[in-house]
């Protein structure tokens, strides 16, 4: 089934040597950047915060079900430019899956949602020329790269920041500087716990857009604190939590 779908799109992912010529326009535009200058103050870069919902944690077996994006510009989250979409999973998954998230309303919404291939151009366009921010990047980035590789033999290109990594780095630095004691346990890495530890509001139910918004606020708080420690540039942020 997979091969026939890709064949329709005219892509030959199993032939990496011919890849560049086969890439669709939106991916070529994405790969050509330019990416934000790491030497500039962090506020001058443009960011896009991403959160995905999946049917499970295994990117080989499970499928993307929803994507939420929140943009940050001039150091401000733009609620007027958020983006959210459901994704229709492969045929067998909807029937077979017993995931809570696929029950009820969600199942109906998913059945009429666009496929990942249909969503991809719009998604990739929104990631272009921006620093990607995710919380626990392994899962979200893993799913996206797996899908990109499958369909186009491509992967994510731009700089990526992981708010969970930044949290760990900040904690370790604080320990080194003696600001927190050595036996002090790692702060909450889980998104909501982390947001609460900053005194930040947590937005609504777990869904891709709410979690992307919560992540975006955590990022603003982290970047603000790092800047106060003299780490003003995007480079300094990438050093603290780049992927």
């Amino acid at each position: 089934m997979k091969f026939s779908t890709l064949g329709r799109l005219g892509v030959a992912p199993w032939l990496p040597w011919g890849r560049k010529h086969e890439l669709p326009d939106f991916l070529r535009a994405y790969e050509s950047g330019p990416w934000p200058d790491p030497q500039k103050p962090w506020r001058e870069a443009r960011y896009v915060v991403l959160d995905v919902e999946t049917s499970g944690l295994n990117e080989r077996r499970d499928s993307l079900l929803a994507i939420g994006l929140v943009e940050i510009e001039d150091g401000r989250i733009r609620l007027d430019r958020t983006w959210h979409t459901m994704i229709r999973p492969p045929e067998g998954l909807l029937v077979a899956a017993d995931s809570i998230r696929i029950h009820g309303l969600m199942r109906n919404e998913l059945a009429t949602a666009p496929t990942f291939e249909e969503v991809l151009p719009a998604l990739i366009e929104r990631l272009a020329q921006r620093v990607l921010i995710v919380h626990v990047s392994r899962i979200d980035v893993g799913f996206l790269n797996r899908a990109l590789k499958q369909h186009y033999g491509s992967k994510l290109h731009g700089p990526i920041l992981d708010t969970a990594r930044i949290a760990v780095t900040m904690h370790q630095r604080a320990q080194m500087l003696g600001a927190v004691s050595h036996d002090m346990p790692m702060p909450a890495i889980q998104l909501r716990g982390l947001a609460s530890s900053f005194g930040l509001p947590v937005y609504g139910q777990h869904d891709a857009l709410n979690d992307a918004l919560t992540t975006a606020q955590v990022f603003l708080a982290q970047a603000t604190r790092l800047a106060q420690q003299g780490k003003h540039t995007l480079k300094a942020l990438l050093r603290s939590g780049g992927v």
Partner: protein, 624 residues
């Protein structure tokens, strides 16, 4: 985004706007995070591009004058800034600094202006001064529950034109007209006939029973001999609540309504009460029916229920105070009359005075007794003993009716506070001439007196003495200094200062740090202006012309007083409903954001008045 909408809708102005307004703001907003100490808006800098709404943290508004920065206000979550600069598209007048880390929702200028255009309340809220918002907060509260009593004009309760009758008609004819027209009262048309003005008479079914039948008068008695003329009337545009108060105070059940000098209709207590179940109007009737002390004991509970009903209906605290005064006065008068009956006619004219909050019409839920007696200088030798006995009986019965004795023993049973006129004049005079601690304390209670019973006119013999305070700057200055001893509970940053008691924190004493200060200030203004009013609101309203407070500041204090009293009363009512002992303490963060904001502004009004008093009386120069 729903969460942001929910957050916005807790706070003014979005709390009074359709959900669409908050949704529009949330969908177009931006979110920014500010480091502690960072400057969000620069005084004289570029105009604000956003309305900033604080989600987390606090900001200081800093005014810089002659190079000296002053924090003029501190804003907390739910509060906004930037709108003044936005509206005028001019540089901010004050700088805004993040006092803590701040998370803010930013509503862009175009969305802000769109909200202003689409929602008048939104525009009003942001264009109004903080003082206007304080008033609108108080009014919104009044309108929110059962607005009926406070929004209905009595004109709208008139069901038919008045039925009139000539004064030479007989009582029998009057009864027939009442039966045929199915009414309980008639307007008696007095000469010149055909024009029923405010001097018209009135005859009610009660009059026919009490004045005619019960007195054995014949059925051909002319109405002019038994009617009431002129009848108590009121303008047709009065509020239902004012009519209720008037009927309560005069103990009447029918009110002719006047429009353009003519009686245009009648309103009865049942017309008003049809839609109001627990009402203070029933209270005096309960008293009339009461046959003994046991019946009187439940009276206090009924007063409490009626007050609760009025509060729920959104009555102003000063109006509630009047209702309570009428209700408690009626009880007191009944108890005193019963006691007089038992002891025999008083041997000399006397007056029973209530003091302190009761004297100021500010007694609300149950409080201690504070009372005193004054009797004529010319009295038979056995008079003091009679009045002692009378005081014992009355005070004891009040205790049984749920009014505990004053802990400071300010009671008519105490011989110190049961004196002939000349003694009282000497005592009052000494408090003014020798204003030591004790004098100031006493003056604060006794100068707020009100006569509830007795033939001696206390006002005529005591007021001239109190008037002496007017010119006595030492007395006034001492009193002013005492009123400044407790500052308004504001921190250096102008937020509300809270205290900790035991393991409870964030407490605020609404009486000690709020109403009591305003009461003291109002008394000073009243004495300074030589006014005889005793209630705090009427003191402030009447005294500013001749006292050291401006009209605007007096209005501010009145609003502050109403607001703090209201929050306190509602809190006490809830405590009583929960079976707790009512107290003046509230846990500030548990109050609604609207109350928190209102209180903060009320305390700022107090602080302002205190600064004015300190300047006027130069209290810092006083020695001793």
């Amino acid at each position: 985004m729903d969460e942001i909408v929910t957050f916005l809708r807790i706070y003014p102005p979005f709390d009074k706007l359709p959900v669409a307004a908050a949704e529009l703001a949330a969908s177009q907003a931006q979110i920014e995070y500010f480091a502690t100490g960072s400057t969000i808006l620069n005084a004289g800098g570029p105009p604000a591009q956003f309305l900033y709404l604080i989600r987390k943290g606090s900001v200081d508004l800093v005014h810089i004058q002659d190079g000296e920065p002053t924090v003029v206000d501190t804003l907390n979550p739910g509060e906004g800034f930037g709108h003044r600069s936005l509206i005028r598209n001019a540089p901010p007048v004050v700088a805004v600094h993040a006092q803590t880390e701040v998370l803010a929702y930013l509503v862009p200028a175009n969305v802000f202006h769109r909200l202003c255009n689409e929602y008048q309340d939104f525009a009003n809220y942001f264009s109004a001064s903080s003082f206007d918002r304080l008033i609108s907060a108080a009014q919104q509260r009044q309108g929110s529950t059962a607005p009926y009593l406070f929004q209905t004009r009595v004109r709208d309760l008139i069901r038919r034109p008045p039925i009139t009758i000539r004064p030479d008609a007989t009582v029998r004819q009057a009864a027939q007209v009442m039966r045929d027209e199915n009414v309980s009262c008639l307007i008696v048309d007095l000469p010149p006939y055909g024009f029923q003005d405010a001097n018209s008479g009135i005859i009610t079914d009660r009059d026919l029973r009490n004045r005619v039948l019960a007195n054995g008068l014949p059925d051909n008695t002319p109405l002019r001999e038994v009617m009431t003329a002129p009848a108590t009337s009121m303008p047709a545009d009065s509020l239902a609540f004012e009519a209720l108060l008037l009927m309560l105070e005069r103990r009447i059940h029918h009110l002719p309504l006047i429009d353009n000098g003519q009686v245009i209709g009648m309103v009865t207590n049942t017309d008003i009460l049809r839609r109001q179940s627990s009402s203070p109007l029933f209270l005096p009737r309960q008293l009339e029916r009461a046959r003994g002390l046991d019946d009187l004991r439940t009276y206090g509970d009924q007063v409490y229920d009626a007050v609760t009903g009025l509060l729920d209906a959104g009555a102003r605290v000063s109006d509630v105070g009047r209702v309570v005064a009428v209700a408690h006065d009626a009880l007191l008068q009944r108890i005193i009359r019963d006691a007089e009956e038992e002891l025999g006619t008083p041997p000399a004219p006397y007056a029973w005075l209530v003091l302190g909050s009761e004297g100021r019409y500010e007694q609300t839920l149950r409080t201690d007794q504070d009372n005193a007696m004054i009797y004529a200088d010319e009295h038979p030798p056995d008079a003091p003993e009679y009045f002692a006995k009378l005081a014992d009986i009355v005070v004891e019965r009040l205790v049984q009716c749920g009014f505990p004795r004053c802990t400071g023993d300010i009671l008519a049973t105490n011989p110190r506070w049961r004196q002939p006129v000349s003694q009282w004049q000497a005592i009052f005079g000494r408090w003014i001439d020798v204003p030591d601690e004790e004098s100031l304390l006493r003056a604060g209670i006794f100068f707020d007196y009100r006569q509830v019973h007795g033939k001696l006119r206390a006002e005529a013999v005591l007021r001239p003495v109190i008037q002496r305070a007017r010119g006595n700057t030492i007395f006034l200055a001492r009193m002013a200094r005492a009123a400044l001893r407790t500052p308004a509970p504001l921190t250096f940053f102008r937020s509300v200062a809270l205290e900790r008691r035991g393991d409870q924190k964030d407490l605020l004493d609404l009486k000690q740090r709020g109403t009591a200060i305003i009461v003291d200030l109002a008394r000073i203004y009243g004495l300074e202006a030589g006014r005889s009013e005793t209630s705090t609101v009427s003191r402030l309203r009447s005294a500013w012309r001749e006292a050291s407070i401006s009209e605007v500041d007096a209005e501010r204090l009145i609003n502050a007083f109403e607001l703090i009293s209201l929050v306190r009363l509602r809190s006490q009512r809830d405590q009583i409903a929960n079976g707790e002992e009512p107290s003046n303490l509230v846990v500030f963060p548990q109050l609604s954001p609207l109350d928190q904001r209102g209180l903060k502004e009320a305390f700022q009004a107090i602080a302002r008045a205190q600064r004015g008093i300190a300047m006027m009386f130069q209290t810092d120069r006083l020695i001793g």
